[in-house]
């Protein structure tokens, strides 16, 4: 819920926002009527992807930025399943 409060406050002062939620918290952006949210199928503690998986992390950030193109509140899923990155 904590980021939801912050996101709503930032929108209140006129700055557009987008957030990235993991699937376990997919109910939060809906419940809090957040402006824009991307929901990933990631486990707790890995919001943008596995450590070392720079390609996926970047793709998730890029998909979140796509949300700034919408003209109404939007919650979108990031579809690709989570996979661990090779050991570094």
């Amino acid at each position: 819920m904590s980021v939801g409060h912050v996101q709503r406050a930032i929108e209140e002062v006129g700055i557009p926002t987008a957030s990235v939620y993991i699937g376990a918290f997919a109910h939060v952006p809906r419940q809090m009527s957040l402006a824009r949210a991307l929901v990933t199928p990631h486990p707790l503690g890995r919001p943008l992807g596995a450590p070392g998986d720079t390609q996926r992390q970047l793709a998730v950030v890029d998909a979140a930025l796509d949300l700034f193109e919408v003209d109404e509140p939007t919650i979108r899923d990031f579809p690709l399943p989570y996979r661990p990155a090779p050991t570094r």
Partner: protein, 244 residues
């Protein structure tokens, strides 16, 4: 049978047989504390047992082929189910509508700021929760109840910070992945890359992080509006938020 053979001493901890409920609860800040698995404590004991059994059912693929996909998928599935609100449960902080602002300029010309509830800070700028110097992750987990009663502190992170100077501490989620690779929750490098590519105009000079396990009322009513004003004073055009 002698007197010494009578082992039915009810208060003797060495004879206590752990119940399934106690076992599940032990993962939630207990003797087996594991923030990946703390959700087990929220399940009925029989559901917790079924969940563990379902995870172990994937062991053939792991043992025979080193294939962890089924294990990963099942773990995420059961974790999501556990966090899903129960049918009929009262939803805290439910709002029928929310504020919505439109961008004033194209993304490729926008200054983007980053806010995460990851618990990051820069070495030498420890927020020192409750006045504790160099609080460890273990101490943060042990004091999760204190965190949940207090207003959160905002840590300011220069976006040209070296990864080696970043620290993360948060008693509410498993930090291993983020500690291994800060961009898992604090994607400064990715946003800088996207600025270089022209996808965004620029990354703001400072990113922000806080411990999201905090007093939600104090955050909503006092702290979040102050942070929003701060971002407005820094003339950022868009904000990307990463909850953990």
């Amino acid at each position: 049978m002698s007197d010494q053979d009578d082992t039915t001493v009810p208060d003797d901890p060495t004879t206590h047989v752990e119940t399934l409920e106690e076992f599940a609860n032990s993962f939630f800040y207990g003797s087996r504390s594991n923030l990946n698995l703390k959700f087990l404590a929220s399940l009925d004991p029989s559901d917790a047992a079924d969940t563990i059994g379902a995870l172990l059912d994937t062991i053939d693929d792991v043992l025979d082929h080193g294939d962890v996909r089924a294990l990963v998928d099942r773990f995420i599935e059961v974790q999501q189910q556990a966090y899903r609100p129960r049918a009929g449960a009262t939803e805290r902080f439910a709002y029928p509508t929310g504020p919505f602002s439109l961008p004033s300029k194209p993304l490729s010309e926008s200054r983007v700021a980053l806010v995460t509830s990851s618990g990051h800070f820069v070495a030498g700028d420890d927020p020192q929760p409750f006045g504790v110097t160099d609080m460890t992750q273990t101490e943060a987990e042990a004091r999760i109840s204190d965190f949940l009663r207090a207003a959160p502190t905002l840590s300011s992170i220069p976006t040209d910070v070296a990864a080696a100077d970043l620290r993360v501490r948060h008693g509410g989620y498993p930090i291993a992945g983020v500690a291994d690779d800060h961009q898992v929750a604090l994607p400064i490098g990715h946003l800088r890359h996207l600025a270089e590519q022209g996808r965004i105009g620029e990354l703001a000079d400072r990113a922000y992080s806080f411990v999201g396990a905090a007093s939600q009322l104090r955050l909503r009513d006092r702290v979040a509006p102050e942070w929003a004003d701060l971002l407005r004073s820094e003339q950022v055009d868009l904000v990307l938020l990463v909850p953990v």
